[in-house]
């Protein structure tokens, strides 16, 4: 056999694709101009984009940072950019950003909320990312008391005596179980701390304070405001509504008739009324339901109401997760001989919570946005402050700069929460299902 010459022995080099079928041109043909309606839509969108950017960009950058009133701003902008130029008056943010961030918190004590915020980031980091050292979780456990002490100030012994209550409960649960059995020690772990808080904690705190006065300057709730207030209320609501919501969801799924009806009644009532009516209850009505003469802090009352509100929604979301779980999981847990709480803790809840993550996080986002409603009952959150600033004669008539700043702050927080939930979903994705 000889080599026949009419069969090609080597491959031809690849030819470049036609110009219209490669690179940017191809991408544009496919994604922007694939058909005539699509091309029209693209042109409309481009026109809209151009209009929007042409309107806002010069406005954002032809701005004044230095003036001390809206009129001053306009004069400065006219002087710098010509007679018919209009620009943003960022001076209002420069003058008032302390207020928007901290409300009327004493300015020499700003380090305390800032420190509390930084510690919060550290404390929630190990919860969010499980690659971090587990030892930080101790800080997470102590953090609520630390933050309370940093924000409101006062004697250090008050938070310590409250922590002691939890310590007593924990010790009772561990060491009394030999003496009293499981049930007895559980009851003791619930009752002893309550007795401690009601009878001894105040005495203990006062006594220790007189022996060893350690404390920082206390700040009244009326001074709280701005984003500090939103974050405080929001984080409290988020942290407390998840556990309460889990119990409510379990109660609603339980086969104990009375427990189930109580849970359904609570959830449907809360979900049926707007948050603002509950805040009205907090501001005007809650004192009626407490023993005559009690009057406790308005921020605390609002926190209670916001938490109750959020937990009802949380319960519904978690119930969705429980319902989405195949029945085989419940049956498998029973077949392993786990009792109710063990099967919930080890088998059901981890999976149900995983299913519910997107809705749980969007509930958190909703809760954080809803903290702005406290401005309606007169607390000075950013929107409450914006009303005050717009009523100031210097800044009368300011709209976009102020609301834009507030909106941006909320947007950053909420958007990062939703991105985190997407990351978490991807991380917990187990491949099947």
């Amino acid at each position: 056999m000889t080599n026949t010459s009419y069969v090609r022995t080597e491959m031809l080099p690849e030819k470049a694709p036609p110009l219209a079928q490669a690179g940017a041109v191809k991408w544009m043909r496919e994604n922007l101009f694939s058909s005539i309606p699509n091309a029209i839509l693209t042109l409309l969108a481009l026109f809209f984009l151009y209009k929007a950017l042409a309107g806002t960009l010069p406005w954002i950058f032809q701005s004044s940072m230095t003036a001390d009133s809206l009129g001053g701003c306009r004069d400065a902008i006219k002087a710098a950019y010509g007679e018919d130029a209009s620009g943003a008056c960022w001076a209002v943010i420069r003058e008032r950003y302390h207020q928007l961030l901290f409300g009327f918190y004493p300015s020499e004590l700003y380090w305390r909320p800032i420190l509390a915020f930084v510690l919060m980031l550290v404390a929630i980091a190990p919860v969010l990312y499980d690659t971090l050292p587990r030892r930080i979780l101790w800080l997470t456990a102590v953090y609520p008391f630390l933050a309370f002490w940093l924000l409101w100030g006062g004697s250090v012994w008050l938070p310590i005596s409250i922590i002691l209550g939890f310590v007593i409960g924990g010790l009772a649960a561990v060491y009394l179980s030999n003496l009293l059995g499981t049930l007895g020690s559980t009851l003791a772990a619930i009752l002893l701390p309550i007795l401690w808080w009601m009878l001894l904690a105040g005495v203990f705190a006062d006594a220790m304070q007189s022996i060893l006065p350690i404390g920082i300057e206390s700040v009244e709730s009326a001074m709280f405001g701005g984003f500090m207030l939103s974050v405080t209320i929001g984080i409290t609501g988020i942290a407390l509504s998840l556990p309460i919501g889990i119990f409510l969801a379990l109660g609603r799924q339980s086969n104990l008739l009375i427990i189930r009806s109580l849970c359904i009644g609570f959830i449907e009532f809360i979900r049926g009324v707007p948050l603002i009516t509950l805040l009205f209850v907090a501001s005007t009505l809650l004192n009626y339901f407490l023993p005559p003469g009690t009057n406790f802090d308005i921020i605390l009352r609002v926190m209670i109401m916001v938490t109750l509100f959020a937990s009802a929604y949380m319960a519904e979301v978690i119930r969705g997760g429980l319902a989405a779980l195949p029945k085989g999981q419940y049956e498998a847990a029973d077949a392993l001989g786990l009792d109710y709480w063990k099967s919930m803790r080890l088998i059901i809840m981890p999976q149900a919570l995983k299913i519910a993550i997107p809705s749980i996080v969007s509930n958190f986002i909703g809760l954080f946005k809803d903290t702005t409603l406290v401005s309606i009952i007169g607390l000075l959150d950013p929107i409450g402050l914006s009303n005050a600033i717009r009523a100031d004669s210097n800044w009368n008539g300011i709209v976009w700069e102020l609301y834009g700043f507030i909106a941006l702050m909320f947007w950053v927080v909420c958007f990062s929460m939703s991105r985190y939930s997407m990351y978490l979903e991807r991380k917990l994705q187990t491949g099947h299902s």
Binding site: T372, L373, S375, Y403
Partner: protein
Amino acid sequence: MTATTDTDKSVFRLSMLIYDTRYRSLTIQAVALILFMLGVAWLLNNAAENLAALGKPLSFGFLTHPAGYDINQRLVEYTSQSTHARAALVGILNTLLVAVLGCITATLIGVTVGVLRLSKNWIVARLMTVYIEGFRNVPVLLWIVLFMAIFIETFPQPRDFRGADATASMYLGESVALTNRGFYIPKPVFYDGSWIVIAVFVVSLIGMWSFARMARKKQEATGQILPVMWVNLAIFVIPSVLVYFVMGKPIGLDMPVLKGFNFAGGFYMRNSLIALWLALSLYTAAFIAEAVRSGIQAVSHGQTEAAFALGIRPGRTMSLIILPQALRVIIPPLISQYLNLTKNSSLAIAVGYMDITGTLGGITLNQTGREMESLLMLMACYLTISLTVSAIMNWYNESIKLKER
């Protein structure tokens, strides 16, 4: 654990209430019920004591007293001499007004945006994402006060329309005035004989419905498709317009006219209503868009491919195959968004729109000092709306559920 069931069943010892799983649930429920009752009794007792100490025992008598305040956006007759109950009714109607308006526009915007976000057009899909993420992640209260502020600062005052050198002008042939106090739009006026036009219009609606029914039956029987849309358009327009001119234009428009420093006549939509409406619609539309998108994506791609394999055109694939299946996923979150919108409309109080929260929970509460009664009634109103809507939704969900096995 199971060993305990081997004991003699006839013997009942007190400890079995705790350690026997057969009785434990009863114990737990009894304890929970007792604790709950004790808690409620304690709260009610405190409330009764406190109210008695303040000298205002629970009574709804204040509802019949004259309210003494004005409401300038109203759907029914109301003066400051009307009772508090009447004010509450005006409030409820205002709540429903903004809720219905908001739901309609939010659905229109939301469906459009949700579909466009799935568009193959890159730039349009991106713009829609920006809209959704922008509106969803900022509090609705901020949108409401922002729209209100824009309204007050940017629209002209009514007096700017006055005189020869007016700085502002009306739109659409001198019929619509946009001022910073609100919009003035023409109002239809019904003269003698207008009922005939309305009757003809209603009859033509019935005609459209029966023609569509007949066309569908014919298609199912013979496969022949009638031009339903064009015929129905003709039925919709021609008879009513003919009768309208034959009867000598019995329905006219009451135009807003500038009188003194303000407009008179026409239909007045207060600025707070429009700001609230816009803010609620745009905010809720972002959520509805997400619901629509996830509903459409929930229909598996195999359905589209199967439809194409059967030779069904893309438009009909959408309307006959995809949408009916997607709707089953979309409707429940859609309804819950409607409920959210209704509940969020209570934020009207921030811009002074007199909804039920503004009347009953706002001025009436402050004037009479009857916090307990007012708030109970306020909550009862919202609860009634919510529970009614969710009952309807549950019924609907039951009826469209896939009948499996």
